[in-house]
């Protein structure tokens, strides 16, 4: 190593040191500490007693845990499929430049940046059994339902309201990712496919889809990673939909508080998350 290289390395370390310090203290260490906590009976005031694997056995024999896993599975399936398909449809629709595209883009992106706390109230009002426009349309205008329903009050239907809400909120980001790839596909490929006799649908399956393969995988993986730990969107819109993060929150901070059990839940969830992230770094990132 030349002195110049050594100076560069020293400067580099100096620059990242504060970041490393903060991130290890407040993210890496807590993750490890969480594993430690999962073997204890932990009180809210910080008292701990060692219980071995008791938290894990308690968790794995708890039927509410399995129902939370089921809910999370449905939620993940609904949001991942919905977001990817809607994002793809939006990208295909808005691919070509047209007048006013900037405005349309801004309008579409708004759900993604808006604070969850504000928009959930809009959604709650839309689905309100008395004043909501959804009930008005389905009951009074279309006559599809015989009576007004409280869709958010009932956990089974609330799950699907949450899924629609989430798709509404995150399709824009899928759209952005897919669009940036879509516009880079060269016209020649479409022309070649036309000469080979493919119509618009054939061209979509033989040119567009294979080219988008990679970006679609990215979108799906990112959605899985973010939505596995999604808390606010679900809890604030419909606190009765118990996905794993909400299940953990209730264990940790409400009712009969059991932070050790919550820690155990998080440890298992971290394991699953790591698998997704490993896939993402291995297959998608060139970082």
């Amino acid at each position: 190593m030349t002195p110049l290289e050594r100076a560069e390395a020293r400067f580099g370390w100096k620059l990242v040191a504060p970041t490393i310090l903060v991130l290890s203290l407040l993210i890496i260490y807590p993750l490890v500490y969480n594993i430690y906590l999962s073997f204890f009976d932990v009180q809210l005031n910080g008292d701990k007693t060692f219980v071995g694997f008791a938290n894990y056995t308690k968790l794995l024999t708890n039927s509410a845990y399995y129902s939370a896993i089921g809910t999370t599975g449905l939620y993940l399936f609904g949001t991942v499929a919905g977001t990817t398909l809607l994002g793809l449809a939006m990208a295909l629709l808005l691919k070509e430049p047209f007048k006013g595209r900037g405005l349309v883009n801004a309008a579409i992106m708004l759900p993604y940046v808006a604070p969850v706390i504000s928009v959930v109230f809009g959604w709650q009002f839309l689905f309100d059994p008395i004043s909501g426009v959804v009930n008005y349309v389905f009951v009074d205008v279309l006559g599809l339902w015989s009576e007004r329903a409280n869709l958010i009050g009932d956990p089974d239907s609330a799950l699907w309201v949450v899924v629609i809400f989430d798709v509404w909120k995150h399709a824009p980001i899928a759209y952005m990712l897919i669009l940036s790839k879509l516009v880079s596909i060269s016209k020649d490929q479409y022309e070649a496919a036309s000469i080979d006799g493919y119509g618009p649908i054939g061209r979509f399956f033989h040119v567009t889809l294979p080219e988008l393969h990679f970006v679609l995988a990215t979108v799906i993986l990112l959605r899985l990673i973010w939505n596995l730990n999604r808390f606010e969107d679900v809890y604030l819109l419909a606190p009765n939909v118990e996905t794993l993060p909400i299940f953990t929150y209730y264990q940790a901070f409400t009712g009969v508080i059991d932070q050790g059990l919550a820690a155990a839940t998080s440890v298992i969830q971290l394991g699953v998350l790591c698998v997704f992230i490993w896939f993402y770094i291995k297959k998608v990132m060139k970082w």
Binding site: V22, L23, I27, P115, F125, W226, N229, E232, A252, L270
Partner: protein, 320 residues
């Protein structure tokens, strides 16, 4: 895809775009509309209020006159008792004149601004330093740091709430008001730092090294080259990252509820709005007006940032 060459195709295209925009904006329109409606009008599916109601906004911004509360005669009698010390009298009077319905929106907004702007600023400074190091300088362990930042970035808050709360408890921070506020501040920094570093790292890599090299040839040190060459070139991106970090802090609910719930003094907007919603003082027009005012700064920031964000430069680096 819709062929735009035919009239039919063009009409279908316009309808599809209009439907998409309507779907995206309907909840916002609903919030705005309900915030401006009188109660008798709520059940009316039309988005346009029959009669404009600005009371909710006036109330939130503190423009309504403080209502004078009548003190019950029995209490007035006690207050008139000359044997009662003055401070006791004041305490009783305060209890009966306090206006519990008031929602100190301005205070919550100020809290939110302090937490999210402060955290975003510190986060940005750390991110600039870190991102420059991992994208420009060669040193051992660089790849490991890079990967760790990405990993850390994807760990959701839910996985950290229990250990962070316990750590704060052990350190004696979670049981005091100021300690909890410090915790939230630190947490908002780590929640935004990895995103900032990721976005800036990608951006710095795109700036040609020759520019810095030239500055250093002219006798600048590396530090000076960063400050005089790299940072001015990155201004739009710095603004974007700052706004992005600000939005994350502004929208955060989970940690605020864990650490600040018992300290109304420090409630941020998301927490205060949720508390208002579940309280008995929940009135749709007031909630919607508060939502609107919480939304507004974000919309403004977003419109500012979107100018710089053209072409999806941020690629896969966007949280959410």
């Amino acid at each position: 895809m819709l062929g735009k060459r035919t009239i039919k195709g063009r009409i279908a295209f316009v309808i599809a775009v209009a439907a998409l925009v309507a779907f995206s904006l309907l909840p916002f329109a609903q919030i705005l509309s309900t915030s401006l409606k009188h109660q008798f009008d709520w059940g009316n599916p039309s988005l346009i209020p029959q009669k404009l109601n600005l009371e909710a906004y006036k109330e939130l911004m503190g423009l309504t006159e403080v209502q004078k509360v009548e003190i019950p005669a029995a209490i007035q009698k006690i207050l008139d008792n000359p044997n009662l010390p003055q401070d006791k009298k004041d305490a009783i009077a305060a209890k009966y004149t306090a206006n519990d319905n008031l929602f100190p929106f301005g205070k919550y907004m100020l809290n939110s601004v302090i937490f999210s702007v402060g955290a975003a600023a510190i986060s940005l400074i750390l991110a600039v330093m870190g991102a420059y190091a991992i994208s420009r300088l060669r040193f051992k362990g660089q790849t490991v740091i890079q990967r760790s930042v990405l990993f850390v970035y994807m760990v959701g808050g839910v996985l950290l709430m229990v250990p962070l709360y316990q750590m704060a408890m052990n350190a004696g921070l979670a049981s005091t008001m100021w300690g909890s506020a410090i915790c939230i501040f630190l947490i908002y920094i780590v929640q935004t730092l990895p995103v900032g570093m990721y976005m800036l790292g990608n951006y710095f890599r795109g700036i040609p090294f020759a520019l810095e090299e030239a500055a250093m040839m002219d006798g600048c040190s590396r530090k000076e080259a960063i400050i005089t060459v790299v940072l001015p070139l990155s201004l739009p991106m710095l603004a974007t990252v700052f706004i992005y970090c600000f939005i994350i802090g502004w929208n955060e609910y989970l940690f605020a509820s864990v650490f600040l719930k018992q300290y109304p003094e420090f409630h941020t907007l998301p927490l205060a709005l949720q508390e208002l919603f579940v309280s008995k003082n929940a009135i749709w027009d007031r909630i919607m007006a508060a939502s609107m005012l919480t939304l507004a700064p974000i919309v403004v920031c977003f419109l500012l940032a979107s100018r710089f964000m053209k072409g999806g430069q941020t690629e896969g680096g966007v949280k959410g």
